[in-house]
């Protein structure tokens, strides 16, 4: 049985297909999950009869897990999620065995998606755009690893409720106008944006850095290079690293000055 999905993070699309397969009693090894790559391919109607008496309840923990997995970019996600669903019908406590190979693999996918969610909340950078009317408007461009834009957008709605915004990505876009949050899964083009405040942000980034504590690997673990091209502050990084040693050496060479500021002398005189 071949199932073809659009596969852009739409949980219901997978759920409907999985529910049908389960009702028809089709075992995971007989299902071939494919992606609709723009070609006109449709899933044929399911043959065979519905297996009676099959309950379709799943633990809530599975729903949370599957909703995250379905957003992963690994083509194997649909088959793995269906295998878990199939096994859960007999092994009700399966998800409580984190050492099970299927569960462990699913958890890794989930973790990767949640990390991507988190990095989106961290690394989206809004640029202000001119707009008529009382509300200010901002646009951001972000490049996620997985199909997470729609699941992460409500965070921005809760946080930036009083401004209009658009977050565009190669995996779909979301927009908020104070009334409705709208999302699509069409690839967007990178807009050409600039914002003067970025210069103040770069000033802050350069000055909060302590050259005596260089830990480049630590920085890159948390802020991998793939994000740098869309972060206004990242262009400063090579220069800050390159100049760090000299700055520390200069500090060491420069003895404390013999003279003290005048206001210090006045303070001393007061006490």
């Amino acid at each position: 049985m071949r199932i073809v999905l659009k596969g852009r993070g739409d949980f219901e699309e997978w759920r409907d297909a999985a529910r049908d397969l389960l009702r028809h009693g089709i075992a995971p090894q007989h299902v071939d999950w494919g992606l609709n790559q723009g070609l006109f391919e449709e899933t044929p109607a399911m043959a065979g009869s519905i297996v009676p008496g099959r309950s379709l309840t799943v633990p809530k923990a599975f729903l949370d897990l599957a909703q995250a997995m379905i957003c992963h970019s690994d083509p194997a996600r649909f088959a793995l999620a269906y295998r878990l669903l199939w096994r859960l019908q007999g092994e009700r406590y399966l998800l409580e065995v984190p050492t099970d190979p299927d569960v462990a693999r699913a958890r890794r996918m989930e973790k990767s998606v949640r990390r991507d969610d988190h990095k989106m909340t961290a690394f989206v950078r809004f640029k202000e755009v001119v707009q008529d009317g009382p509300r200010r408007a901002f646009v951001a461009w972000f490049e996620p690893d997985h199909h997470i834009v729609a699941r992460t957008a409500p965070f921005f709605q809760r946080r930036f409720t009083d401004m209009d915004w658009v977050i565009a990505t190669p995996m779909g876009s979301c927009a908020w106008d104070g009334e409705a949050l709208t999302c699509d899964d069409e690839p967007a083009a990178k807009p050409d944006l600039s914002d003067e405040t970025d210069e103040l942000w770069r000033t802050y980034f350069a000055n909060i850095f302590n050259p005596a504590r260089l830990k480049v690997k630590m920085m890159q673990t948390e802020m991998p290079k793939k994000y740098w091209k869309n972060l206004p502050e990242a262009e400063l990084i090579p220069g800050l690293i390159g100049g760090a040693e000299q700055r520390v050496r200069d500090m060491a060479d420069r003895m404390a000055s013999e003279t003290v500021p005048r206001f210090h002398e006045r303070l001393q005189a007061r006490t």
Binding site: E96, Y204, N207, I208, N210, R213, V216, L267
Partner: protein, 408 residues
């Protein structure tokens, strides 16, 4: 000529970088669906990382770096020739909101040099927090560094607007503080912490209406400078444990003493002891989350100093080999937490999983544990490490290869 906003931002963020904390987690959950701007959702967010590996979560700045105090370790001490600047309260509010709207930050961490007197300075800082909350409906995170000797009434007001308040203990011993920060008084710092703890406790008590008062929901924290004086790790950790227990601090931050421009001659001009700082954080974690007593971690360590080559949990295991191997299928949680290579999440996963299966090394590998690292310390299904734990070269198996010492 008056310095531009950008020039002053450069000075006043440079002056703020010696405060280690940038946390924005653990506060009450808020959003702006009912008005205003901003949200806090439990876990903090690091919006950037500087090449020093530190998380940038907050706009961490000083209101001013003019200061009437002369603390030897501080870049802003009155006798330093560092360039001085000052923000108006409106400028701090504007920067916070504009940075926030562009998603650069989670909120503000505001500290200040002391101008005129403690109460005047604290009043200005409270005004900034109040304007953000009341005038601009800001629901993001606010951390205020309270000014030593500021009046209790001002601290109380600050607590209504801030998520976190902190006051730095500065150095691990009272003698150190008196030597390097002659105008600060350790007794008064502890009294402030005590008063704040009492106020937080009172605010968290249920009221008749059932509504809790919003008062410093992310609690209080402090910072200690490491390596400026001669205090040992045992002393540092003992001081921390005392602070955690007496004032229920959320965090004690350790800040490796770092050379500062125009440094005082009374201080060592050294490379900051970053590895030492790292080991102290690890030991601090063992105390707070792994059931270790400070005495166990530092027992038998020469001069009360932690092993720089091995993490303190591994060092403890090697010094207490008789406690191993630990059977992953039977041992209590407390003992599993002592296995080098098991974190708290791993231990929780083991406890859940072993109710259903007997666990072998391959199962542990699927929990993303380094099997190589834990093998000598555990018994698992199909695995007993009889000889390993008795090996005399066990330390060498873990210690990093020797490196050439680096000069400054």
């Amino acid at each position: 000529m008056k310095k531009t906003l950008k020039q002053r931002l450069a000075i006043l963020s440079d002056a703020a970088k010696y405060d280690a904390s940038c946390a924005s987690s653990g506060t009450s959950k808020r959003d702006s669906t009912k008005g205003g701007i901003g949200s806090t959702e439990g876990s903090g967010i690091c919006h950037a990382y500087a090449p020093d590996g530190r998380c940038i979560s907050l706009l961490k700045i000083l209101m001013t770096n003019f200061c009437i105090y002369d603390c030897a370790y501080c870049i802003n001490r009155s006798s330093s020739n560092v360039e001085r600047a000052r923000f108006s309260p409106e400028e701090v509010v504007w920067l916070t909101l504009e940075f926030y709207r562009r998603n650069y930050i989670e909120g503000l961490f505001l500290s200040s040099g002391i101008i005129r007197n403690s109460d005047y300075t604290m009043e200005q800082m409270v005004r900034i927090a109040r304007d953000l909350r009341v005038k601009h409906g800001f629901n993001g995170y606010i951390h205020l560094k309270t000014i030593p000797e500021a009046s209790a009434k001002l601290i109380e007001e600050a607590g209504l607007f801030a998520d976190r308040l902190s006051i730095n203990i500065e150095l691990p011993t009272d003698a150190g503080v008196e030597k390097f920060a002659p105008q600060k008084h350790p007794k008064n710092i502890r009294r402030s912490m005590g008063e704040l703890k009492t106020a937080i406790d009172e605010a968290s008590e249920p009221t008749r209406t059932g509504r809790k008062k919003h008062f410093v929901p992310a609690g209080q924290s402090t910072q200690m400078i490491i390596g400026a004086d001669a205090a040992s790790d045992a002393t540092v950790l003992g001081t921390s444990a005392g602070l955690y227990d007496s004032y229920r601090l959320r965090r004690v931050y350790y800040s490796a003493f770092s050379p500062i421009p125009d440094s005082s001659k009374n201080l060592p001009l050294i490379k900051p002891p970053l590895m030492r700082e790292h080991r102290l954080y690890q030991a601090d974690w063992l105390y707070r989350f792994y059931g270790f007593e400070i005495g166990e971690i530092t027992a038998g360590r020469p001069g009360g100093m932690l092993d720089l080559q091995l993490d303190p949990k591994l060092a403890w295991a090697l010094a207490n080999r008789e406690s191993f191997p630990v059977d992953v299928n039977r041992a209590e949680r407390e003992m599993l937490l002592r296995v080098p290579g098991f974190g708290t999440k791993t231990v929780d996963a083991i406890l859940v999983a072993r109710a259903h299966r007997r666990l072998g090394l391959d199962d542990l590998g699927r929990l993303r544990v380094s099997v190589k690292k834990i093998k000598p310390f555990v018994v698992a299904n199909g695995w007993t490490p009889v000889q390993l734990i008795d090996r005399v070269d066990l330390r060498d198996m873990f210690a990093p290869a020797p490196q050439q010492m680096e000069l400054l």
